[in-house]
Symmetry: C2
Subunit: 336 residues, 2 copies
């Protein structure tokens, strides 16, 4: 910037004014400055500006996701990016892989770069460590999972209600024995979905049978095995509710291998690419990652802009997408 000033024959401050689009610079000088900046390929140093500025804004936010490569996380990412882009804000992103320690490391990496705010899909359960950061003015919005030991804005999926919706759909079609396959029980959303399953059964006056429940089936392979196992039992379920993406895929694989995909009903939580092209097409309770990301980013920027209202909990609704697998009627038990 000094070089630009020298070349344009003006003071540093004048260059600063032109670069920042401030008023009160004559057209003549402004033009000279612009020409000099162009010739020297001048680019404002955002770090230096931030150091001196009174508002202390870096125009950068941090985004902590389960895994930048997973479809749900990356859809949230894209939605956050779109909101940030409109304001010229850059997005630092990182993956946590359900590792609380990684969460703390990434938060430190981002806050040391003085991000204006953080959108977190948290891996840990205790966020008290963020209190000083929050007090220092960093905006914090949690997505998909609520913070622990910390008050902050949250944007959540309707996990319990969505599951209830899906399970009720199966009950309505006459299924009496509905199996539940879920993600790791230590993950809050997994527990909420399990609660939804229980609630739907209770509401219909059904008993919950322990041998129809397989929680902690976190991978495709585990879900495949659990499904195979559950269906081989004497009192096998006539329908399955799979509470997560990979779990659904594992169940589809197992049903396919057993040749029972047109016999056992299936409703999955969370939509996935090509679910409509499978045979039968998979009925799902779809989340809306796009809305989650957008709502979270908008809340974040509201805080960054100075909103000091009470913390909010925003719930993004799920939607039942009927495609076929969830509408298979119960198989009549053959008397043996």
């Amino acid at each position: 910037m000094r070089d630009v000033a020298a070349r344009a024959g003006v003071s540093l401050k004048t260059v600063s004014r032109v670069v920042n689009g401030e008023t009160g610079v004559s057209d003549l000088l402004a033009e000279k400055v612009r020409a000099a900046a162009e010739e020297l390929n001048f680019q404002l140093n955002a770090g230096a500006r931030n150091l001196r500025r009174s508002d202390g804004r870096t125009g950068t936010i941090g985004l902590l996701l389960e895994n930048v490569a997973n479809p749900f996380s990356s859809a949230v990412h894209r939605a956050v990016e779109d909101v940030a882009r409109r304001r010229g804000v850059a997005v630092l992103a990182g993956s946590l892989d359900e590792t609380p320690q990684r969460e703390r490391e990434l938060v430190a990496t981002f806050t040391s770069r003085r991000v204006d705010g953080l959108v977190l899909m948290p891996a840990g359960a205790d966020h008290a460590y963020l209190v000083p950061e929050q007090r220092a003015g960093t905006a914090l919005v949690f997505v998909d999972r609520a913070p622990g030991r910390l008050e902050a804005d949250v944007v959540l999926t309707n996990n319990r209600e969505g599951t209830t919706l899906g399970v009720a759909h199966l009950l309505d079609r006459g299924h009496e024995r509905i199996g539940f396959l879920g993600d790791l029980a230590r993950i809050a959303t997994a527990t909420e979905r399990y609660d939804g399953y229980i609630e739907a059964l209770r509401a219909a006056g059904r008993l919950v049978s322990a041998d129809l429940v397989a929680r902690d089936s976190a991978t495709v392979e585990a879900a495949d095995a659990a499904t195979t196992d559950m269906l081989s039992r004497p009192d096998a379920p006539t329908a399955l509710f799979t509470a997560q993406n990979l779990v659904t895929i594992g169940a589809v694989k197992a049903l396919r291998r057993l040749g029972r995909q047109h016999e056992v009903a299936l409703v999955g939580f969370d939509d996935f690419l090509l679910g409509d092209l499978l045979d039968p097409p998979v009925t799902v309770v779809a989340q809306d990652p796009d809305a989650i990301g957008r709502v979270a980013a908008e809340q974040l920027f509201r805080r960054i802009d100075g909103d000091t209202g009470p913390f909010t909990v925003q719930v993004v609704p799920t939607r039942l997408i009927v495609r076929g697998s969830g509408e298979i009627p119960p198989l009549r038990q053959v008397a043996s």
Copy 2:
């Protein structure tokens, strides 16, 4: 940092030494400093450090992708992140949506934050605008597509050879009329894949028939329509090569709707989630986004670490994954 110094009763410089792990500080003082830093929740300001440091490193890199939410891009993202994480480097990411203007905007957003390097999956064809940036010492690695009017390191997929492999696979099974459905011709990789198709036919002594080629079918809908159209012609192909992800899905949909998915052979370029669960499972020429991202990031850090060797072109091989759809034999034309 000044506060920490005051509280520990030492000079600024001593705190700096401790925080940076420099040697030559007595254990006593170092401990005092650490205690004070802890009490005050001290966190080093990365921006201020960068402003003063001689090497000018920010410990941040920029990553420009086609779209952070698309499976190929996000897999590259994850691989880059993993390499960066090992060095404590943060990653700024953004989507270009095939828009050259957006590419320039994002580059500016990132370079004004003084990233140490940039990994680009470019949208534009002219990268001369990056010359000053490159001269200023920003490391530049292109992925998936080569730069235009600029010399830089590149990591590419074996597009032409991969396509040749897939088309030869169909020729080997006796197909004489093989349709080609491709992405926008202005995208370099799309053209390379088309060239591979031509080359495979030529190598087998076949003629290229214009009515078997539909380039510019960039969306699922366009590919669906093109497939439907092509298969309704008198001299319809007995096999299809689809040169991109969404194009493959469009073709699958069309074949399914026509009820000909077990009749017309299909080989797609680029693998996709659940391709193995479709009926028939889809044979593909798979790229390796993981390797692409890893190799690119490693090259980037080599440059950041001062490697001044000649620019490199690294080609990541593709792999034919045989699943069923590509092994359907040619349908005998019924004499009418």
